[in-house]
């Protein structure tokens, strides 16, 4: 890249609170360095590659870099094409949360539009380091923007959780917790969970994801984030829910 092209859109300049410079993942950095030398005509077809396993697939962080470079070079047509490719990924990510707390209480399309605008403002800001996070962890960046956009709705969700809590069925929970164990689901159960995915309700899917990612179902420590504390249900209830998930998954495997 010549000196002009290596402007503020190229190197990351933001630092963590510990003073460390933000760093892209190795794969993203390597891909960016490779595409930075390519002609636009070579890059455009790659925007339509959606198979992650394809060697021409452009990583999310690379798309952010290319978008910023297109803005810097005032290439509106390319910036538009890049954003459309990026937007499909944003939509798919947010659709995963469609029926979860992230979007609770508002129309998905309205929420999506607000998130898009927030994302565009940050990744399009070439004068500051505010877009650097998007070039380091794009998925987390979008989720963070979504969280901020939907804060009012989350507040609503929090209140509902408190309301639910007032009527919880926590008889003898302390006895249950005496022997509380949250074993790792194990590879067999994990495989079952994946097979039963289409049969699960939204809440069951949240529980399944949390189990797969290593959250404990319950804990004696009230400060620990567990599946039961997150859903604000009792140990008894979460055990029943996991039992139901296990039953549905087993049925799906048998079919």
């Amino acid at each position: 890249m010549d000196s002009q092209r290596a402007g503020s859109y190229f190197p990351l300049t933001k630092r963590t609170k510990q003073g460390e410079l933000y760093v892209r993942r190795d794969d993203a950095q390597m891909q960016i360095e490779a595409v930075a030398e390519r002609e636009i005509a070579e890059i455009r077809p790659r925007l339509y590659v959606t198979d992650r396993a394809d060697e021409l697939y452009l990583l999310d962080e690379t798309l952010v870099f290319l978008y910023r470079r297109a803005l810097f070079e005032r290439d509106d047509s390319l910036a538009e094409a890049i954003f459309i490719a990026m937007d499909v990924r944003i939509v798919k990510l947010l659709l995963k949360h469609k029926n979860s707390g992230f979007i609770h209480g508002c129309e998905f399309d309205d929420f999506l539009q607000d998130v898009r605008i927030s994302v565009l403002r940050k990744i399009g800001d070439l004068a500051s380091d505010i877009g650097d996070f998007a070039q380091v962890q794009f998925g987390s960046f979008v989720s963070s923007e979504a969280k901020c956009v939907g804060k009012k709705n989350f507040g609503l969700k929090e209140r509902e959780r408190i309301d639910d809590h007032s009527g919880r069925d926590d008889d003898n929970d302390s006895d249950l917790l005496e022997n509380a164990v949250s074993p790792d689901p194990g590879p067999e159960f994990k495989a079952m969970l994946r097979q039963g995915w289409s049969q699960f309700s939204d809440e069951q899917r949240t529980i399944v994801c949390m189990l797969l990612d290593g959250f404990q179902s319950e804990s004696k420590d009230p400060n620990e984030t567990t599946i039961s504390s997150y859903l604000n249900v009792t140990s008894r209830t979460i055990r029943n829910k996991i039992g139901e998930i296990r039953r549905i998954a087993a049925e799906a495997v048998e079919r």
């Binding site: 002009q4 402007g7 503020s8 963590t16 609170k17 810097f72 005032r74 509106d76 910036a79 538009e80 459309i84 937007d87 499909v88 939509v91 798919k92 990510l93 659709l95 995963k96 949360h97 979860s100 707390g101 992230f102 399309d109 999506l112 898009r116 605008i117 565009l120 403002r121 399009g124 070439l126 004068a127 500051s128 380091d129 505010i130 996070f133 380091v136 962890q137 987390s140 960046f141 989720s143 963070s144 923007e145 969280k147 901020c148 804060k151 989350f154 929090e158 994946r194 995915w197 899917r205 399944v208 994801c209 949390m210 797969l212 990612d213 959250f215 404990q216 400060n223 620990e224 984030t225």
Partner: protein
Amino acid sequence: MDNNQLAEVLEEYALASPDEFDQSVLRRFKDKYPQFSGELEDFAVAQTIAKCSPEVELSAQQEAHYRTSALEALRSVRGEMQTVLHSLIETAKVKGLNRKELAEKLGLSVSLVQYLEKRRLEFSSIPKKLIEKIASVLEQSEASVVEFLNLPSAGTANANFKTATRPEALKPKKFEEAVREDQSLSHEEKQKLLEI
């Protein structure tokens, strides 16, 4: 609660989190930012859902629908960007001018350009002719230059500090004062600027 602060906390948490959920990291952040405890939990679970859910497939009809609204969002933000000037120096860069060249074109010193960039000059003291010149050199409307120069001072907005508290914002100077104090300008250059 401030949304910008929340975004910063979530960003810090995401950067500190390993690929797999780590209870100890979440706990550390909940202890550090108790005011965002609920948001951090929601965010951690959202990351888990994003990671562990199967890929969502879109129909051709859905893709067309989302594409239309994506373009609307893009045009809306592009409209904002075009009418609002975000930086004199960055805008000059797009025109192929570095700081020094911009200063020369405007008949200013680099430090005076920096004063303008950081909005550390009292707007009312900036000569109208200088505003016209900035608009002309940067090929922007005078209105957008005026709007930019009226933005709050950018002195401490994105800076990192070694102390726990931010330093107090510097009081904007009058244009004449900044010119007189500028040691890189000759006496003649100062006179010329003061006569604008």
